[in-house]
């Protein structure tokens, strides 16, 4: 059985809390643990931050579209924009955490990508008329 729940918000930081709230509602219904939900809230926040900060640069804030896909494996979350394509390939090389040598040149954008990857089971990025980030977390066995 598959269901989809959509949330469309302006790509503005003031609406990020609504994304977390909706995620919380859906994920608790499905039966994720508190810790899994906390992880997903951060990961979805990072994906949305990328849209808000980069997708509509120099233009009017556009739309941030979030699709929550529910199936028997768990949740897959699609975060879409219609702005400047997010060059994932170049960013993935900057995916980074903080370790002894890097405090001086830590890339904060890289930290966000790193966190998405560490907190979710899968992170997929598609570029076409904008960017789509797909975050997946399996209910069991992650």
């Amino acid at each position: 059985m598959k269901d989809r729940i959509d949330l469309h918000i302006p790509a503005k930081a003031e609406y990020l809390h609504l994304v977390r709230l909706t995620l919380f509602g859906i994920a608790s219904d499905i039966g994720y643990s508190f810790e899994q939900i906390e992880d997903m809230k951060v990961a979805i926040g990072e994906a949305c931050n990328n849209v808000i900060l980069h997708a509509y640069r120099d233009k009017e804030p556009g739309i941030l579209k979030i699709q929550f896909g529910i199936d028997d494996q768990g949740l897959n979350i699609h975060i879409k924009d219609e702005g400047i394509s997010f060059n994932y390939e170049s960013m993935i090389n900057k995916s980074t955490n903080v370790h002894e040598d890097s405090l001086s040149d830590i890339s904060i954008g890289g930290l966000g990508i790193y966190m998405m990857q560490a907190l979710m089971d899968e992170v997929e990025v598609r570029n076409y008329h904008g960017t789509e980030i797909i975050l997946t977390k399996r209910l069991r066995g992650s």
């Binding site: 990020l16 906390e38 955490n97 903080v98 002894e100 405090l103």
Partner: protein
């Protein structure tokens, strides 16, 4: 009624400067946090403390601010302490590797 999802409380005594951060620290409030920390970050007369006991959410922008403060305080050879980190926030600090750089003031790593 407008709900404040994030709050900063600044206290100063003759020992230290303390910022109590509570609620959710995300992209929407990061600029206001930076603005509030700015006048204190450069002060070398007393240690600077951030107390996170009532913080319920942080993202990479918040962690980025902590890293910036850390670097700046190191440069001016002044003390920076992060206190009472909740378990869920500590998990993120551990995950990102920032834990190794933070002290809780008792000479133990966070």
């Amino acid at each position: 009624m407008k709900v404040m999802r994030f709050n900063m409380d600044f206290q100063e005594n003759n020992k230290e400067y303390v910022f109590f951060l509570s609620g959710e620290l995300d992209l929407s409030v990061a600029p206001q946090l930076r603005l509030a920390l700015e006048p204190i970050v450069n002060k070398t007369d007393k240690p600077m403390i951030i107390n996170l006991k009532d913080l319920t959410y942080i993202d990479s922008t918040g962690i980025g601010i902590i890293i910036s403060v850390l670097k700046l305080r190191r440069e001016i050879k002044s003390s920076f302490v992060v206190r009472e980190v909740p378990e869920s926030i500590k998990r993120l600090f551990d995950l990102t590797g920032i834990s190794g750089f933070l002290c809780d003031g008792t000479e133990n790593p966070v």
